[in-house]
Amino acid sequence: MNRLARAWDSDIAWSFRHSPVAIVAAVVALLIILSAVLAPWIAPHDPFNPASLNLMDGFTPPMEPNQFTGNVYWLGTDNQGRDIFSAILYGARISLFVGFSAVIFAMVLGISIGLLAAWRGGWVDSLLMRIADVQLSFPSILIALLIFGIARGVIPPAYREEMAIWVLIVAIGLSDWVQFARVVRGAALVEKSKEYVQAARLVGAHPARIVLTHILPNVMGPVLVIATIGLALAIIAEATLSFLGVGVPPTQPSLGTLIRIGQGFLFSGEWWIILFPSIALLALALSVNLLGDWLRDALNPRLK
């Protein structure tokens, strides 16, 4: 209880309680994440079980009874009679899984490279940072596309479908590590010259130990900010790639895939097939983004 009270009293918690935007964003993000995680239990239908689909239910507008079966769907159905609401829940699951995994991958890679560059210095540092500079001068969506293309070429065609999600995670992660590496390197260089690190060196601690147990915890603040904003970017990147048709296969549609599918029905007037997945994607990306903005301001001592 004592620990909980202290957490409640901390600066971060105080700034959170006094930021209505952060509270709303957190509630929206948590709501989407929770319903995505619990999708198998709360979704009214299983959108990927062909036995549960009824073609007669196809193209049911939202909140209206179907003209043949009389079934009512909150957000309507698509051409195969698949419930849009359930499809969104399952789609958000895949979007979030790819987003989180890609950010964690980028974070681990970026932190390792940043720490290595800061600790070793010299040519290792200049080489790594040169690579980072070059990569940073190209848009990350282009890098992700390229990595995705290369991976498709390397993987035998039979495994492409099932590997697609992992390829996507690696592609988005590899296109996103530079921010982490740069910030960690900068912060680690500052920490490296501080007295506590020198003291640790003096008592003969192993360099790996110093870097991991002394320097790393002290650079985690900015890393957390980049990770949050990076999550929003990764979710949008995944949606973009899936929308372009080079992301997850249509058998496991993410929010981006649902939007891609829905675009085809826009012209025939079935607007709900594309509208609701788009709103879900936007709400998710925007709320995570706003949380990141708030976190950046809350962790910035100069703004206090």
């Binding site: 969506i141 995705f148 293309g149 070429g153 390397v154 936007l282």
Partner: protein
């Protein structure tokens, strides 16, 4: 000055070499070109003969040199998917992408500067508030959703503008343009807005911030004290001084516009290089991917180089800083 220019040029060449190495590795190590070209029935001897003829048995460094020599002449081989020379494919689709990029770049620059100046001069007006809010939405919406939204409103509901393709095109020499026909001009409106919206908001926010900064400075107060008209102060003095960073950013963004054209071209089925690239990624068409990579890298490197050199030429403070930093 000469040393700086030389160093920047050497850096650019190095970047191009690295990109060429990636491109070359794509060719050499991703997929087997012999298998792609000969099919299943070819005998082992035929395969070896082809390997020899293609130079695949030479040392890797010789192959790389050959790759660069051919790339410099624009020879990237034949597309696996379309069975046409890659360079021909890209050149035939380049005008569509360049027209789209130039129109949306111009749109972003003109509207961005216009809105930026307006919102800076009328900070409290309701129209400024509206523009700023819309720009916030423009930044948070992913590009493909903006495109879909525009199609829904202007093509499906209002039926004012076409939702896909380039419309009728006219050949002017080797350049196939869509800008000379009515349907071509109508077709470019929605893609150009989709592509330029993000850049427009970026430029607008930059101009607004720079204008607010400059309007507070002493020489503006002096210009007002001299009794110059508002018009002369705002446009002759204030705007002129904000334009250097704005032009730099616009220049740098031109590369991003060409890269983001991939998304816009897919949404609007625009027959440009970006759509070609997406198809080549889907079908693992290595020669097209490699050539596109080199082309985009070249565009980026050249733009970065030109902007850097221009900046150096335009802003004398930079020269002093650089000289001081070296000592």
């Amino acid at each position: 000055m000469i040393a700086y220019v030389l160093r920047r040029i050497v850096q650019s060449v190095l970047v191009m070499l690295v990109v060429a190495l990636v491109s070359f590795s794509l060719f050499r190590f991703v997929g087997d070109p012999v298998a792609t070209m000969m099919g299943q029935e070819a005998s082992q001897a035929d395969r070896e003969a082809l390997r020899d003829r293609l130079g695949l048995n030479d040392p890797v460094i010789v192959q790389f040199a050959g790759f660069i020599a051919r790339a410099a002449q624009g020879d990237f081989g034949i597309s696996y998917r379309l069975q046409q020379p890659v360079m021909e494919l890209i050149l035939s689709r380049l005008p569509a992408t360049l027209e789209l990029a130039l129109i949306s770049g111009t749109l972003a620059f003109v509207l961005g500067v216009g809105f930026g100046v307006y919102t800076a001069l009328n900070r409290r007006g309701w129209l400024s508030g509206a523009i700023m809010t819309v720009s916030l939405i423009g930044v948070s919406l992913p590009t493909f959703l903006i495109g879909v939204l525009l199609i829904w409103v202007f093509a499906v509901e209002l039926q004012w503008l076409p939702s896909f393709g380039r419309g009728d095109t006219v050949d002017v020499g080797p350049w196939r343009t869509g800008l000379l026909t009515q349907s071509g001009r109508a077709s470019i409106v929605l893609p150009a807005i989709t592509l330029g919206l993000y850049q427009m908001t970026l430029i607008m926010r930059l101009v607004r911030a720079e204008m607010l900064e400059v309007l507070r400075s002493d020489y503006i107060k002096f210009a007002r004290a001299r009794g110059l008209s508002d018009r002369a102060v705002h446009f002759g003095h204030a705007l002129k001084n904000t334009l250097v960073p704005v032009i730099t950013i616009t220049g740098l963004q031109l590369g991003s516009i060409i890269a983001f054209a991939i998304i816009t071209e897919t949404v609007f089925q625009w027959p440009g290089v970006g759509a070609l690239f997406i198809n080549s990624v889907q079908f693992v068409d290595i020669p097209v991917m490699a050539a596109y990579l080199m082309l985009i890298a070249l565009i980026f490197v050249v733009i970065n180089l030109v902007v850097d050199l221009l900046y150096y030429a335009v802003d004398p403070r930079l020269r002093v800083d650089r000289a001081a930093a070296r000592h």
